[in-house]
């Protein structure tokens, strides 16, 4: 059951694949698993104001990647990214048009896991290594990941990275308080659930600080800072038409 370790899981998964080749086996479709939350929020969410990002600033990315021992592997394909900058057109492919204000079009947009209410990655994960907590955070249990990369295929936001090689030699400064990953597992942003458990804000939000491009809070609390900001400023989400119900919001005005 839950205490199954990776090696055993691989064996079980292999057996199941062989088993699935047998003629008829009733198969139950599972809904995204939900489990108890840690730090008491109803629903965590984030608001990003791209126009408050100073040009060339990478403070949030560096802070996140340092805290979580994210390796610096160059080159497309092998790169591991929890939070990254993408062109507006890539983040919002259906929002671009020829008359889009250049100031908006040319400002890179921060992209990270959207911690969807209806996460496709959770639905496809065969080992339930990825699951959704009741506070909305989509987290990974790296002990269970078998590296099948179904989640990478399922995520419409490209928020997940695969460790195609041993990440350890590529970690610049090791944070001993957070584990690394091994070759063969997928990783992604966890909304800093390990910091929230200690009552600290996510590392990216803390690094951004007074610039205020990143705001984090409880979406279910109408008096929270994040909800009050969203009342005043119109926000959009990345590809909401897919029905994933993403919980990272972008200020557009």
């Amino acid at each position: 059951m839950i205490d199954t370790e990776r090696r055993r899981l691989l064996k079980i998964a292999g057996t199941l694949i062989l088993g699935s080749m047998l003629p008829i086996i009733p198969c139950s479709a599972s809904s995204p698993g939900r489990s108890a939350s840690a730090a008491g929020a109803g629903r965590w969410g984030m608001v990003i104001d791209p126009r408050k990002c100073p040009a060339g600033c990478r403070d949030c990315i560096d802070a996140c990647h340092a805290v979580h021992n994210v390796p610096h592997i160059a080159g497309p394909g092998n790169e591991i990214r929890w939070i990254r900058q993408v062109p507006f057109q890539n983040a919002f492919p259906d929002q671009g048009h020829p008359y889009l204000d250049a100031g908006r079009r040319d400002v890179p947009v921060l992209a990270l896991c959207n911690h969807c209410e209806n996460p496709p990655c959770v639905r496809v994960c065969p080992t339930k290594a990825t699951f959704r907590r009741s506070d909305g955070i989509v987290v990974m249990d790296y002990h269970r990941c078998i590296g099948c990369r179904f989640c990478i295929a399922a995520c419409p936001y490209g928020s997940r990275s695969m460790n195609f090689r041993d990440p350890r030699p590529f970690i610049r400064t090791v944070n001993p308080d957070y584990p690394t990953r091994t070759r063969g597992v997928v990783e992604k942003c966890n909304f800093c659930e390990e910091r929230l458990a200690k009552g600290m804000p996510p590392a990216c939000v803390e690094a951004c600080g007074k610039r205020g491009a990143l705001l984090f809070g409880d979406m279910t609390d109408p008096s929270s800072e994040i909800r009050r900001l969203m009342k005043d400023r119109p926000t959009i989400r990345r590809r909401p038409e897919l029905g994933t119900d993403p919980h990272v919001f972008y200020i557009v005005s």
Partner: protein
């Protein structure tokens, strides 16, 4: 007749050599069992404890520490319950590196000794980082604070 007898002798010698080689590990190691490793409990943190108590009685820790670690992992990662309370009311952070290894700061002379003897290879340290201790037990420090060994 003579040739046949010679052939039999050759087969006999061959069999004897084969048996001697095949059973070599058994008779070579006969009576030479590996001594049961002695675990080193003398770390500064353990010596400083008012009472030498782990999160469970020693006998249970010896036989069930792996299950306890599995339960802790499940509770933290999947259920978000990070605090462990012993029946006598002591509270611990459910953490291999921040709880277990703070007392048992001598991985080589505690974890490894027994695991090597028993021939088990736990994969904890593929991801988790051995904490650097004040006495410098952990080796090959990376970036001065932890070690990736």
């Amino acid at each position: 007749m003579k040739g046949r007898r010679g052939g039999l002798i050759a087969i006999g010698i061959g069999l004897a050599v084969f048996l001697a080689l095949a059973t070599y590990p058994f008779w070579h190691a006969a009576g030479k069992a590996m001594p049961v490793p002695e675990l080193d409990l003398e770390t500064p943190a353990i010596r400083a404890l008012p009472a030498r108590l782990c999160v469970a009685p020693t006998a249970e820790m010896k036989t069930r520490h792996m299950q306890i670690l599995d339960e802790w992992r499940t509770e933290v990662v999947r259920n978000g319950r990070r605090t462990f309370e012993t029946p006598d009311g002591r509270r611990f952070d459910r953490s291999l590196t921040r709880t277990c290894m703070q007392c048992h700061s001598n991985k080589e002379r505690f974890c490894d000794r027994c695991h090597d003897y028993a021939g088990v290879k736990p994969k904890c340290w593929d991801c988790h980082i051995v904490p650097e201790t004040p006495s410098g037990e952990a080796s090959a420090a990376v970036a001065g604070k932890g070690t990736l060994k």
